[in-house]
């Protein structure tokens, strides 16, 4: 009950400054812009705007940053849906179904659903954070190296769900991605691997340029190749937002994914990107019509979006209660709080309730503002792809170049992005899926480091993965997910095969 009273007090504190709402609005809007530009992630947006907050009162400064955080994670989905280039890593799962939807002219609907899902997921995350933070934080601490390894293996089984037509090709893509993650300095042994003496390669394959290459550059090359043959897709005009009925049918998915996202985010080291993929795979596994996934299923947009915004609230929990950030964005927020004179940690809840509860209340308000801004903007955003494709493609190509440069001001990264882009373009030609590479890039370091770390702890005894309960549960879940997803996959292939055969028969009879 105390938390409720504190929370209501916090709303009062926030509204006692007439500019508070304005800062949230500015933050959310700036976050959406930063988020939907490829290469500018929510992490960067927050980091870049920290100096602006020095001149503001702490609460208002934090509201601005929370707005950017929320808006940034959401904004990534807009470019994912419209141009198949996720603005932030967290939106990489959204484009799997968001882009096909926009190719059907339903970009407005996809963005509308993404907005509502973000709002619901984000609210769940914010509420869980407000009322259960200390308990959740203790749960997160139970994850040690073996648990993280089991979790990474569990995550890697999602390859089955995102492999498309051939599991073998998906597996090869994932293995390739995992090998890429071994490039660079190995933090466990201090050895430089596959760096061939180059300082740039010692830094490893940077994630953001790789992401832009896999999706952005590859899509640009694809679009340019097909420019003269395939007519440009135009967004439908008129009533473009999702109907109430559609939203209602998606509500269970959104609530479930939002909750899963918040839990995933609260484990230190797991961020919105992992949460989104887990939710996507789970939604596909339990969907009534899994065959629609990858072709524009509404659940395929709702699940990852609810999860990644749910994860924002979740990731705040260990940061605030323990001073251990849940992901990269909260790491930056931790730095910002520290500079403002509020060092996150167990004592924050004792000494600075005056800042803790406004953060909670601010997160809730951010979701509301996000809903309003997002729905108002959906129509406008959807119109963006109606711009002449020759202009649009040129601008996207430019943004991809600038984006891969900006993550650490490195031309090496631009070259890396372009190289991976060319590779991904040819992979698309030979029908190798690229999403498994992305998943491997996210989970690879987590799997490798924690496997080796666990075996250091147990001194080469591999039973450590099965004797610790949480680790054993996740490994069991991984096997379970793999088997059920595989059965689903086989069923899907049969259905598709039948459809293809029917079409062939029809063609023949037509010809004959």
């Amino acid at each position: 009950m105390d938390s409720l009273i504190n929370l209501l007090d916090a709303f009062q504190i926030i509204f006692s400054n007439p500019y508070s709402l304005m800062y949230i609005l500015i933050g959310v809007a700036a976050g959406i812009i930063v988020g939907c530009l490829p290469g500018l992630t929510a992490t960067m947006g927050v980091a870049l705007l920290v100096p602006f907050t020095f001149s503001l009162p702490p609460v208002q400064g934090l509201l601005l940053l929370l707005g950017i955080f929320t808006g940034g994670i959401y904004g990534g989905s807009i470019s994912g849906i419209l141009i198949r280039t996720p603005g932030t890593p967290a939106a990489a799962a959204t484009l799997l179904d968001g882009y096909p939807l926009s190719q059907r002219g339903e970009a407005g609907k996809a963005i509308g659903i993404a907005t509502i899902a973000s709002f619901i997921g984000g609210s769940i995350g914010a509420l869980i954070m407000s009322f259960l933070a200390p308990e959740i934080a203790q749960f997160g601490l139970r994850f040690g190296p073996p648990e993280f390894f089991a979790l990474a293996i569990f995550g890697l089984t999602m390859i089955i769900s995102i492999s498309g037509v051939s599991l073998l090709k998906g597996a090869i893509a994932a293995l390739f991605g995992l090998l890429l993650t071994t490039i660079g300095l190995d933090p466990l042994s201090g050895v430089a691997r596959f760096s061939f003496g180059s300082d740039d390669l010692l830094g490893g394959i940077t994630f953001i340029p790789a992401l832009i290459g896999l999706f952005g550059f590859a899509q640009v090359f694809h679009n340019i190749e097909k420019m003269q043959i395939v007519p440009q897709v135009k967004s439908k005009v008129g009533k473009i937002l999702p109907s109430l009925k559609e939203i209602r049918s998606l509500l269970p998915t959104m609530f479930k994914s939002g909750g899963m996202g918040a839990m995933t985010g609260s484990v230190p080291g797991l961020g919105a990107d992992v949460a989104a993929f887990i939710a996507y795979a789970e939604a596909k596994r339990t969907a009534k019509k899994p065959e629609e996934f990858g072709k524009g299923a509404l659940e395929g947009v709702a699940a990852p979006e609810a999860a990644n915004n749910g994860a924002t609230g979740g990731a705040m929990i260990p940061m605030l209660t323990l001073g251990i950030p849940g992901d990269a964005v909260t790491a930056v927020l931790l730095g910002a709080l520290t500079i403002h004179g509020f060092q996150p940690g167990p004592l924050l809840f004792v000494n600075h309730l005056d800042i803790v509860y406004p953060i909670f209340a601010g997160m809730i308000l951010c979701q509301l503002v996000l809903l309003i801004v997002g729905l108002a903007g959906a129509r406008l955003f959807a119109r963006l792809i109606n711009i002449d494709t020759r202009i649009l493609t040129a601008v996207i190509f430019l943004l991809c170049i600038v984006g891969s440069y900006s993550i650490r001001f490195s031309f090496f990264d631009v070259g890396l992005g372009l190289t991976i882009g060319v590779l991904a373009y040819f992979m698309g030609k030979a029908q190798f899926p690229v999403s498994p590479i992305l998943l491997a890039l996210i989970l690879g370091p987590m799997a490798e480091q924690n496997m080796r770390r666990s075996l250091m702890l147990s001194r080469d005894d591999p039973t450590i993965f099965f004797t610790r309960p949480i680790s054993a549960i996740f490994l069991f879940l991984a096997v379970f997910m793999a088997i059920t997803s595989y059965i689903r996959f086989k069923q899907l292939r049969k259905i598709e095969q039948r459809v293809a055969d029917d079409a062939a028969v029809e063609n023949e009879s037509n010809n004959g």
């Binding site: 100096p51 933090p187 300082d199 770390r453 702890l457």
Partner: protein
């Protein structure tokens, strides 16, 4: 085509350089080789918070991460030598060459000043059975390899600091490297490792909250923010030359001398800014100033201290 030429002309006018004024006449960039939100980054941002008062322009922090700091420090070394790019350099610079990771060393820079030195602390969580360093080390001596000791990365200051303790006093620890300070703390709190070696300031919050017990600090004197924590010598395990983490500022070589002087003076003022000093006290960071000369001899000495330690943990590249 005419229009195009006009456009170009307009663009040139817009982009034309402002008439050459005194240095600095535009924002300075501070390259931080570690990611946003980390310890080094937070210090950098706190340092330049009031830059405009002290040097006349803003200083923007940019993070160029990767390769255990190599990427960012190389970028600072290769930056244009006009004084507008300043690099934050950190402990790793003392080890890259010795570990065979990269050829860069402090000799590649125009050194500005040392900012701080941090000492390692050996901590356990408050639920732990060990209450003093003596108990921990005696147990490790009796049961070689039984005590798991987490640290923030192979070849890092805290790893080397703890390793030299173990080597000197015949205690065999099972070293578990994590990727940075935050996961190391999480592993200790969750009881996944028995003890951790981190910078003493990194556990200040948890120490103040009573969540961890700091057994000893690897320094010659007690830390002012932790008057109750004994030094290694006081705990009965003397170490001659403690491995210290350090952070400092440097310019690429070749910056005109007058500009170097302006930068030196400006950053010294930021360093002495009462707000920055208050911040470092709050987070438990020990500021240590050395001018360029003192800094250089400190770094030269550092390499000599580190070579045998790196050799002891098998990370020295011959």
């Amino acid at each position: 085509m005419k229009k195009f030429v006009c456009l170009l002309a307009v663009l040139f006018i817009f982009a034309a350089p402002a008439s050459a004024q005194d240095f600095p006449n535009k924002d300075i960039t501070l390259i931080v080789p570690w990611s946003a939100g980390g310890g080094t980054d937070t210090i950098a941002r706190a340092l330049v918070k009031n830059a405009e008062e002290h040097i006349g322009v803003n200083v923007n922090v940019v993070n160029q991460t990767g390769g255990g700091g190599v990427v960012g420090m190389t970028a600072a070394k290769l930056a244009r030598a006009d004084g507008y790019s300043v690099g934050m350099i950190t402990f790793g610079l003392s080890t890259y060459k010795l570990m065979g990771l990269s050829d860069i060393s402090y000799r590649d820079y125009e050194l500005i000043q040392l900012l701080n030195q941090s000492s390692a602390a050996i901590s356990v969580r408050s639920k732990s059975e060990w209450t003093t360093l003596g108990e921990l080390i005696e147990f490790a001596q009796a049961n070689p390899g039984e005590v798991s000791l987490g640290h923030t990365g192979a070849g890092g200051a805290w790893h080397l600091s703890a390793a030299s303790l173990g080597v000197l006093h015949d205690a065999e620890f099972n070293f578990i490297p994590f990727d940075g300070g935050a996961p190391t703390r999480a592993a200790m709190l969750g009881g996944h490792v028995d003890a951790v070696a981190t910078g003493i300031d990194e556990v200040k919050q948890l120490y103040d909250a009573g969540e961890v017990r700091i057994l000893a600090v690897n320094a010659l004197e007690r830390h002012p923010a932790f008057p109750d924590v004994p030094t290694l010598e006081e705990a009965g395990y003397k170490i001659d030359a403690p491995v210290l983490d350090w952070r400092g500022l440097a310019l690429p070589q070749g910056v005109p001398e007058d500009r170097v002087a302006i930068i030196e003076e400006g950053f010294k003022k930021m360093f002495e800014d009462p707000e920055f000093v208050a911040f470092t006290e709050e987070v438990g960071l020990a500021l240590v100033y050395e001018d360029a000369e003192g800094y250089e001899s400190f770094l030269a000495n550092m390499e000599e201290v580190l070579a045998p330690t790196l050799d002891a943990v098998g990370l020295l590249k011959e």
